[in-house]
């Protein structure tokens, strides 16, 4: 089923929209979640949550590229899940929990500041990626957006494994220099 037809189902509030999305983009979203989480259970949950988010977001949204829209949701959910899981593993630490609790007391202005900083970082990253040669940018995104393994990227682009690694190493160094030049402190 084409994107437009799936979106029509969403707009018509027909639950078949979820089924069709799952059918068309299930594997795609699952692979994004899997690459980040490496856990079937967590990946399944993130993908299911993706459908729920999409259901809540459409309408009013009508994404131009449904795959990327869904992929981005899955990626964000997976990153959140990863952080959550990671924090749990680390943190018998009450300190972590205490900090979380205290974070609720931080004035909203700080949240706004953080959001602005995040938006600025996004903008800078986008600018940086636009300045890269196309192939280099694509390899970078394959690794850090889709979190694909080196070997998968090498196969995908018919490149040597070491070439992929070297390309990524150079791009990371460029990104570091770029962010430093822009005065970004992460």
């Amino acid at each position: 089923m084409k994107d437009a037809e799936i979106l029509d189902l969403y707009w018509g509030r027909e639950e078949q929209a979820i089924y069709e999305t799952q059918k068309t983009y299930g594997n795609y979203c699952y692979s994004i979640a899997w690459n980040i989480l490496y856990s079937k259970e967590d990946s399944d949950e993130c993908v299911n949550d993706t459908w729920l988010r999409a259901w809540n977001a459409i309408p009013p949204r009508r994404p131009g590229r449904l795959a990327l829209f869904l992929g981005t949701i899955t990626r964000n959910l997976s990153l959140d899940r990863w952080k959550e899981r990671h924090a749990m593993k680390r943190g018998k630490g009450e300190m972590e929990i205490a900090l979380d609790e205290l974070a609720e007391c931080v004035p909203a202005a700080h949240d706004t500041q953080a959001e602005v900083e995040a938006a600025e970082l996004e903008r800078l990253v986008n600018d940086f990626l636009r300045g890269l040669p196309e192939r280099e940018c694509n390899i970078f995104l394959r690794r850090y957006w889709y979190v694909e393994e080196y070997s998968d990227i090498a196969r995908r682009y018919d490149m040597k494994l070491n070439t992929v690694k070297t390309s990524l190493f150079r791009t990371r160094a460029k990104l570091r220099d770029y962010l430093e030049k822009e005065g970004v402190l992460i």
Binding site: S31, L79, W82, N126, R155, L161, N162, K165
Partner: protein
């Protein structure tokens, strides 16, 4: 400090969620182009090689004429270098020795580790911490043997056609019909399984298995072929022995041996430790390990071709080959 860097890496990962759609779309299109290109790429490479040779010939001839006219000395070497440069433009030939020490071991390295590097992180000690996160879970997933067709073989709906390969665990690779028996049971110390896959679309049975040990990797491409390549004459050592030549090989290896020297295939009955020794060589590359590295192929009587590329001492690699077929 470590936490700070990791947080920075996570922030970068999150910032990447805001990558503009056209960049992601382009990424998918590039991949699709690559797949479409695959079928005729070989022909294009051949054509490019012929073109390069023609250009090299023209340049050499021109240089030769010029030197005869002006200096009376040969400029063929320079012309050859120019030709080599031209050839280089057609490929993404990033030299292996450019790879830095701390980078390159895909095993246990997570994307977050990499991103931390972009944020100015010294990698030392970072991996250990990451083991609690993605890096560790990669290992776990490998052990669990979830040989599902995730990622590369899933429906890549952003425009990329799915790669028609099937991922396997190490155990599953050993169980593969025909080729599984050629997966070695003995590996150089410290190597751990990284991944294995077979290309589904290929008419011939094939299997690729990769192991890694820090920056070192061993990759085996196994194929049951109906068109076996020619094997080298082991008596003719100059056609494959790397010890006989100095780098750059392009200037020292005679042209008639270049093909066999580049990727020799030995008949299994001729294969020996001496041959492995002739192909495993240490290079003094800055920032690289000094583990000997090499590549070659072995053709077995049942037309199974094993192409090896990787690192280890000659004895280790020989023992690895000896362990092939033990399960047959």
């Amino acid at each position: 400090m470590k936490d700070g860097k990791k947080r920075g890496a996570v922030r970068l990962m999150e910032a990447l969620s805001g990558v503009e759609e056209d960049l992601l779309e382009r990424c998918g299109q590039d991949c699709r182009r690559q797949i479409h290109r695959g079928l005729w790429q070989w022909n294009m490479r051949t054509a490019a090689a012929v073109l390069c040779l023609a250009v090299a010939g023209a340049v050499s001839w021109g240089g030769y004429q010029l030197s005869n006219l002006k200096m009376g000395s040969s400029s063929g070497g320079k012309a050859q270098m120019m030709a080599t440069d031209l050839e280089g433009d057609g490929q993404e030939a990033v030299p292996e020795d450019m790879e830095p020490e701390e980078f390159g071991a895909a095993k246990g390295e997570s994307a977050l580790d990499d991103m931390a590097d972009a944020g100015g992180t010294d990698m030392t000690g970072q991996r250990e911490e990451a083991a609690g996160g993605v890096g560790k879970s990669q290992d776990v997933s490998t052990e669990e043997g979830a040989a599902e067709e995730n990622g590369s073989s899933g429906a890549d709906s952003d425009g990329c056609l799915p790669l028609q390969s099937r991922k396997l665990t190490e155990a599953q690779s050993r169980e593969e019909a025909v080729l599984g028996a050629y997966v070695p049971t003995v590996l150089p110390a410290g190597y751990a399984f990284e991944d294995a896959y077979c290309t589904v679309d290929d008419e011939e049975a094939n299997l690729t298995v990769c192991w890694s040990r820090g920056m070192d990797t061993i990759m085996l491409h196994l194929r049951k072929t109906e068109n076996p390549p020619g094997t080298v004459d082991v008596e003719q050592e100059e056609s494959y022995d790397e010890r006989l030549y100095e780098i750059p090989y392009g200037e020292t290896v005679p042209e008639k041996y270049r093909e066999s020297f580049d990727n020799p295939v030995f008949a299994a009955e001729d294969f020996s430790l001496e041959i492995v020794e002739s192909r495993m060589k240490s290079y003094d590359d800055q920032g690289d390990t000094d583990t000997p590295r090499g590549n070659f192929g072995v053709l077995y009587p049942d037309n199974v071709l094993v192409r090896f590329s990787g690192r280890g001492t000659a004895v280790e690699i020989w023992e690895m080959f000896c362990s092939m077929g033990e399960s047959k």
